[in-house]
């Protein structure tokens, strides 16, 4: 488990000190850079119609995935919504299996069945991308229920957007999780918009972390543009959960640099707002910190970037070269019963 070093960190400004060990900064950067490049390629491939359907990218939100990963264990569970490519990668799904899935290829992480919104991996304890807004909130609660039932110390991260936070299922879940002290870490990724609707237009309560308070759930707001802050908050929450005290809720404030999905021109927000958040780009911030702390030289960073670009190139080539599933596979994975009598008239 990574730990916060004793050196005092600077809470504001781009070039803070080094509150964490070198390896952690390097891993954050690698994680975030991989996600950024993967998503940029996905957008480009969408425009070439290699990727179809809905496609929601994670660009701008990378620090959330990076901080969760460094603060938790691979054995911890995660469930999230459709904006999931970055989170899936951070849970350890390979770039190639994710890219192949976006292409709808048989070699994808779910064999071309799910596409952009539905990656799953039992091996990586990734319980999926859900396309129904808010549906994963009770599901994550149930995944945590099973962990408690089996008496493990696994944390289940249940992610949802600011829009999803308005679904009634959140309240039902929070209440039961608190009542039964379930080991679930609820994370609202507040990127400030649900499609074209800003948080303030959906409720009288715009501090989403406060939604936990009526259930007396420990609830906090976190700066999601900085992996240091994300990591620290998650580490604290996870310790609370593992000690058997029940759920924890974090509202992580972040921003998506692109539209809701590839078809959204995002006219509902100002250029200034976007520029403000681009100034907070977590990749640039971490790069600066690494340089300043001499954790990595410019050359070393470039070498890391080149390696990841190569990985993404290879993933695209792999996706390109892979076959589509065959037509008969339509009937696979609908029932586990092997001779299930489908209606085929």
């Amino acid at each position: 488990m990574p730990t916060i070093s004793t050196k005092k960190k600077n809470s504001n400004g781009k070039a803070s000190g080094s509150a964490f060990k070198k390896e952690i900064y390097l891993s954050w950067y690698e994680e975030m850079y991989r996600i950024r490049k993967f998503e940029e390629r996905a957008l480009m491939l969408y425009s070439k119609q290699k990727i179809r359907g809905f496609c929601h990218v994670y660009i701008g939100q990378e620090a959330v995935a990076a901080g969760i990963k460094s603060a938790l264990r691979p054995s911890d569970n995660m469930v999230t919504a459709y904006r999931q490519h970055g989170l899936a990668l951070s849970k350890g799904l390979s770039s190639r299996s994710c890219m192949a899935e976006l292409f709808g290829k048989a070699t994808g992480c779910v064999k071309g069945k799910g596409g952009s919104m539905h990656f799953f991996s039992r091996e990586h304890n990734f319980f999926g991308g859900n396309g129904i807004v808010g549906a994963q909130i009770p599901i994550g609660t149930g995944i945590a229920f099973a962990e408690k039932y089996r008496k493990t110390d696994t944390v289940t991260v249940t992610m949802f957007g600011d829009g999803a936070a308005r679904q009634g299922a959140l309240h039902e879940s929070f209440n039961m999780a608190m009542t039964w002290k379930l080991p679930v870490l609820y994370i609202c990724e507040n990127n400030q918009y649900a499609m074209g609707t800003s948080v303030s237009r959906t409720s009288n309560v715009t501090d989403l972390w406060k939604l936990g308070l009526s259930y007396e759930m420990p609830s906090e707001a976190v700066d999601g543009m900085d992996p240091e802050k994300v990591h620290a908050a998650i580490e604290k929450a996870a310790a609370h959960i593992r000690s058997g005290k029940g759920p924890y809720y974090l509202e992580i404030k972040t921003y998506r640099y692109r539209g809701h999905s590839v078809s959204d021109p995002a006219k509902y927000r100002t250029k200034d707002e976007l520029e403000h958040y681009k100034d907070l780009d977590p990749l640039e911030i971490i790069e600066e910190r690494m340089l300043k702390s001499k954790f990595a030289s410019k050359d070393e960073i470039e070498a890391m970037q080149a390696k990841i670009k190569e990985e993404i190139d290879e993933a695209v080539q792999f996706a390109e070269d892979s076959p589509f599933p065959e037509a008969h596979e339509l009937y696979e994975y609908n029932y586990l019963q092997e001779d299930y009598p489908f209606i085929k008239d």
Partner: protein
């Protein structure tokens, strides 16, 4: 005078005209106001009617559908838009347990004049959760009326009828057909709920369909005509109440029936049509009723699987030949 407009604009006109005519009509749903609708169906309506009558909701389908039901019980005529019917699943409780039953359980003390509308059906590679059809789900419930339509002229006339209807109506459109163009008159008109339309006359076989499956039916009929098979194409337009008479009359003439229904086969609209026809036109049938549905599976993402899953004109032609006993 008539002009060529899109399905999107036809629906917009229907809602706008009814809102001008009746103050109690309002539109509510996700992104309907400031964003002009996820598919731009409500474009300009916020500007014309203001935020009291064109209302953006949070993502809270169960809640706002229920608010619609309560408002309808208390004298208003809500139009509740679901971004797609897949998300209306969250609101089934309010639609099925309340909108459909208010009149019955209150013995007429209260009614529920509400329209629930949005797109139904697959729209390309959108995968399992975003590709479902809901006509038969809703039509199974007494108390609800169900309209499913893409033709711009009929959509406008039927949506206006739905808004004026005193019973709850589930109105189903199509995500990928909003740009479909058709002739729509300037003058006001209504199209009554409960009547099918014969889209193409024929003598050898009847093809029944609805929503975007009508496109496949027409395409198949054109191809079949080249081979000397004359197909009559019926667009159901309303699913509940179903216009059996138009189908029976057609089958009495053609003696053969193929139902093209994008829904799953089990207990679907196609099954209902087949039942009624064997019951009321048994002596006129020269072959068993046959249907073309989506596959009896969830719809995955990969293009090869979508192709296998969806009904298409070739599958319709094959079915027609089967009931016509030609190779």
């Amino acid at each position: 005078m008539s002009r060529i407009i899109t399905l999107r604009d036809a629906l917009n006109e229907a809602m706008s005209e009814e809102m001008r005519r009746d103050d109690s009509v309002f539109l509510m749903g996700e992104e309907v106001a400031q964003y002009n609708g996820a598919y731009k169906v409500s474009k300009g309506m916020l500007d014309e009617f203001g935020p009291e009558r064109v209302i953006d909701t949070p993502i809270a389908e169960l809640g706002f559908a229920g608010i619609g039901v309560g408002a309808a019980m208390n004298g208003l005529r809500p139009i509740v838009e679901f971004m797609t019917w897949n998300f209306a699943v969250l609101a089934f409780d309010q639609i099925v347990n309340n909108a459909a039953k208010t009149l019955s359980q209150s013995a007429g003390e209260f009614s529920c004049p509400i329209v629930f509308r949005g797109p139904s059906g697959a729209a390309g590679q959108l995968a399992q959760q975003h590709s479902q059809t809901f006509e038969s789900w809703m039509a199974n419930t007494p108390g609800l009326k169900v309209v499913s339509i893409i033709d711009p002229y009929d959509s406008k006339g039927l949506l206006k009828s739905a808004i004026r209807d005193n019973d709850p109506v589930c109105f189903m459109e199509s995500e990928i057909m909003y740009g479909l163009k058709g002739e729509v008159p300037e003058e006001e008109y209504l199209v009554p709920i409960g009547l099918a339309a014969v889209r193409r006359e024929g003598t050898d076989v009847t093809i029944v369909s609805y929503n975007k499956s009508t496109i496949l039916a027409n395409k198949a009929a054109e191809e079949l005509a080249k081979e000397g098979i004359s197909a009559e194409v019926i667009d159901l337009r309303t699913i509940r109440p179903l216009d059996y008479q138009t189908i029976v009359d057609s089958v009495k003439k053609t003696n053969r029936l193929v139902v093209v229904d994008e829904a799953w086969p089990f207990a679907g609209v196609s099954a209902e049509v087949a039942y009624e026809i064997q019951k009321y036109a048994f002596d006129y049938l020269d072959a068993p009723v046959t249907r073309v549905n989506s596959a009896d599976t969830s719809l995955p993402y990969a293009p090869t699987l979508v192709e296998e899953y969806m009904p298409n004109a070739a599958k319709v032609i094959k079915a027609v030949k089967e009931v016509s006993y030609v190779k």
